[in-house]
């Protein structure tokens, strides 16, 4: 099951990313425009009132069309406004497609093999069955064109350190530019919908490098993702394991998103209860919140959880879909 251009989900995903990156303005009610690049070019949203423009690239626009769309987007932005281009990995898209078509046959054949391809298809099969958010995949040459045209229109791509956008990737040298970091994060995370951010060039940080803080998620909401949150790795932190179990139980019970603070509290209770049952002791730590935030951010990138930084019911934003 897939959803394409689900405006509300795209908007919320972009808001979460922008919040973690420190890009999101303080407006209580956000004015958001969501639309494909071509639609933005044609519609030319109202000047100077939009806090967030969220777009996807269907690859139907040439350089001139991209320029027109980005120019329209830039002029529509408020003083603190940002543009988000949501992209997917072409490799992930291909793997999910093959898993959807040949999932059972591959699972049967993979039972006797142990290699990266078998791992990849198993990973993709889980996602093929879930209602994940997808954006059109972006090829490297297309991304380079978008970034180049954006720069000419006064919009600069900004990216955080790789350690934040793809936890666990380790040190990867040579990916210095924001475009290179965006490419690495998109390909290495296996994302189906990753927001990239462009800010008016005058506001861009040095070298396009953002200081991301996952702790900012503490003011948000969380729910189990379409693929299920369960963190079963034996080396997962106890607070994270407990939290994902809480989320999955809530989802099974038909519950909606809970606040991060509620989740942290319930996760501590669950951890404590489980520890007592095993004759152990759960010791809350001052880093529980940041540890949990980091894990949730990683899981969100893998569609295992959904995150919101504005009311999930949408009351804190005025959303216009083009």
């Amino acid at each position: 099951m897939t959803q394409v251009l689900d405006a509300a989900r795209l908007a919320h995903r972009a808001i979460v990313g922008a919040t973690v990156m420190g890009l999101m303005g303080k407006a209580k009610r956000l004015a958001i425009v969501v639309g494909e690049l071509g639609a933005i070019a044609r519609a030319a949203p109202s000047a100077g009132h939009t806090d967030l423009v969220v777009t996807v690239d269907e690859s139907s626009e040439d350089a001139a069309g991209i320029a027109k769309a980005l120019d329209a987007a830039r002029h529509s932005l408020s003083d603190d406004g940002i543009l988000s281009l949501v992209v997917g990995s072409p490799v992930t898209a291909a793997l999910i497609e093959v898993a959807a078509s040949y999932g059972d046959a591959i699972a049967s054949a993979s039972a006797t093999r142990d290699d990266a391809y078998a791992d990849a298809v198993a990973w993709a099969a889980l996602r093929a069955r879930s209602a994940r958010l997808t954006a059109p995949p972006v090829e490297p040459s297309r991304l380079a064109l978008l970034v180049e045209v954006a720069a000419r229109q006064g919009l600069t791509l900004v990216e955080p350190e790789i350690a934040v956008s793809v936890p666990g990737l380790g040190r990867v040298r040579g990916m210095k530019s924001p475009r290179a970091r965006a490419l690495l994060a998109t390909m290495a995370s296996g994302t189906s919908a990753r927001p990239l951010f462009f800010v008016p060039s005058a506001r861009a940080p040095k070298a396009g490098l953002l200081r991301a803080k996952v702790e900012r998620l503490a003011d948000g909401w969380v729910a189990s993702g379409a693929a299920g949150a369960a963190e079963e790795a034996s080396d997962a932190m106890p607070i994270v394991r407990a939290a994902t179990a809480v989320l999955d139980d809530a989802a099974c019970g038909g519950g909606g998103p809970m606040t991060f603070k509620e989740l942290l509290r319930e996760a501590r209770e669950r951890w404590s209860t489980d520890a007592r049952a095993n004759g152990q002791r759960a010791t809350p730590s001052a880093t529980d919140a940041s540890d949990l935030a980091g894990a949730l951010y990683r899981l969100a990138g893998d569609d295992r959880v959904e995150l919101w930084m504005r009311d999930p019911a949408g009351s804190a934003m005025a959303l216009a879909q083009l």
Partner: protein, 487 residues
């Protein structure tokens, strides 16, 4: 890199491809009902031949066949022309040509079409999209009515993980001009990815990076300054994969069709009336696909006709391994106790044996065809439409001039080893100590004389060393029959 063609700037280390040999192509063609031409007298065209190593090696064992190859890399073609001259391969013509010109004007006599076999190995995925139509048009135009072509491409979905690596490798190497530096930076990134400890897709990519690294080691000759394979593959300007469906559609558009994959997939050994190449590629995850292709007006069977095997030959390279068991040069262990067809074949080893002579009666022959087909699909045994003129150890053993040329050249430059190609078109990396023996196998020098020449290095063990090398080379299919092929 744009100032000079990439393959002139950095040579590509071409090797013989056994599935792209006319004998292998003829075998599969006949299995699928195509009356393919006899390889021994065939006309063979190679598109993108590089330095002609694949063709010169084949031509060395098929002196009555005619081989024509062309490539855009002028330096590679020049090297190949010299090697062919030194090897006495006067049945090989190597031409510096652009495929677009060949499509427009053809090749001039005596190198003009038609051809019984066409090879386009390592070409289609690696040329610009604008040229791919020309490649297929040249194949279609060149093929005789019962001609078959070999085409290799990177294959989706198996190649998708390499696509991810390619994107990142090219980015990592983007600021470097020097080819060796580009490869160093790219492989550095691969090594970093391989050590990642993350979850989810990060873990998948880490594993893919580790596997690719191991693959590069295998694909890169040990004596080159850097991996030219990486430079011309994942770092290449053009490199696109194709699914079976997409490839079939492109071929159809060009007046061609797929006969089968090569080598045949193991799953073909299961009796089935339906074969789905797309499903096979999805389940196997192979990143590389080789197919046999023919004109769309040729008659092709949907499934292999096993009764064609009775007219073929079995390559018996079976060495006794005790208690009715035999080992092939590929390391497969086969049981053949009593007076079974395989035991009869083993008695003729090493050499080709007509399948029809191995069975008593129609019943046993049908069973034998089935068993050989299964073994063939599993890569355990080789069958061929016609035998190569190779045999066992004689008093004055002889290898093909091309093989001696390479052995001598390697010895002259002090190389630790060299890749030599057998009559079965299989390549082996041969160590220095054995090259010294091979260089002497000219059909006039007796084994004892060779041993005497090597005595200063091997002492009393020289004779045993020579015998061991000769036995191994006989089993690998290097030794020519006394009245057989080669100059």
């Amino acid at each position: 890199m744009t100032a000079r063609f990439a393959y002139d700037e950095v040579p590509y280390d071409t090797e013989a491809n056994s599935e792209a040999h006319p004998r292998a192509m003829a075998t599969l063609a006949r299995l699928f009902g195509i009356d393919a031409a006899a390889p021994s007298t065939a006309r063979v065209l190679e598109i993108g031949c590089g330095d002609g190593e694949h063709m010169i090696a084949a031509a060395s064992y098929l002196p009555r066949a005619r081989f024509v190859g062309f490539d855009l890399a002028a330096d590679a073609v020049a090297r190949g022309i010299e090697i062919a001259r030194q090897a006495g391969a006067d049945n090989v013509a190597l031409l510096h040509r652009d495929v677009r010109d060949v499509r427009a004007s053809g090749l001039e006599a005596p190198n003009a079409r038609p051809f019984d076999y066409v090879v386009a190995h390592g070409v289609y995925s690696w040329v610009p999209e604008a040229i791919r139509g020309d490649v297929l048009a040249v194949i279609r135009d060149a093929l005789a009515p019962t001609g078959v072509a070999f085409l290799s491409v990177n294959a989706s979905p198996g190649w998708e993980l390499r696509r991810a690596l390619r994107v990142l490798m090219r980015e990592a190497a983007a600021d470097a001009e020097d080819p060796a530096e580009r490869v160093r930076l790219a492989l550095g990134l691969v090594d970093e990815l391989a050590t990642s400890k993350g979850d989810g897709f990060v873990r998948v990519l880490a594993r893919a990076a580790g596997e690719y690294r191991a693959h590069v080691v295998q694909a890169t000759p040990p004596d080159v300054p850097f991996s030219r394979y990486v430079f011309h593959d994942l770092l290449a300007e053009c490199n696109d994969p194709f699914s079976a469906t997409e490839l079939a559609a492109r071929l159809r558009h060009a007046g061609l069709r797929i006969v089968c994959e090569t080598p045949l997939a193991r799953a073909r050994a299961q009796p089935s009336s339906a074969w789905d190449l797309s499903a096979e590629m999805a389940t196997s995850g192979t990143p590389f696909l080789q197919v046999l292709v023919c004109r769309d007006d040729a008659t092709v069977a949907d499934v292999p006709a096993l009764d064609t095997i009775r007219a073929m030959h079995l390559w018996a390279d079976l060495a006794p391994a005790g208690a009715g068991t035999y080992r092939t040069t590929a390391g497969a262990m086969l049981r053949a106790a009593g007076d079974t067809p395989l035991a009869r074949a083993a008695r003729s080893a090493p050499g080709f044996v007509a399948v029809s002579t191995l069975a008593d009666g129609e019943g046993e022959l049908s069973d034998l065809e089935r068993d050989l087909f299964v073994a063939f699909c599993h890569g355990l045994l080789a069958i061929a439409s016609e035998p190569a003129a190779i045999g066992g150890v004689t008093s004055a053993p002889r290898v093909a001039p091309h093989v001696r040329l390479h052995a001598r050249a390697a010895a002259a430059r002090g190389a630790k080893s060299a890749v030599l190609t057998s009559a079965l078109h299989r390549s082996f990396r041969v160590p220095r100590a054995e090259l010294a023996v091979v260089a002497e196998l000219d059909g006039t020098t007796e084994a004892a004389t060779i041993a005497a020449r090597l005595a200063p290095h091997h002492g009393a063990g020289a004779r045993k060393h020579v015998e061991k090398v000769l036995d191994r080379f006989a089993r690998y299919g290097f030794l020519l029959a006394e009245e057989g092929a080669g100059a």
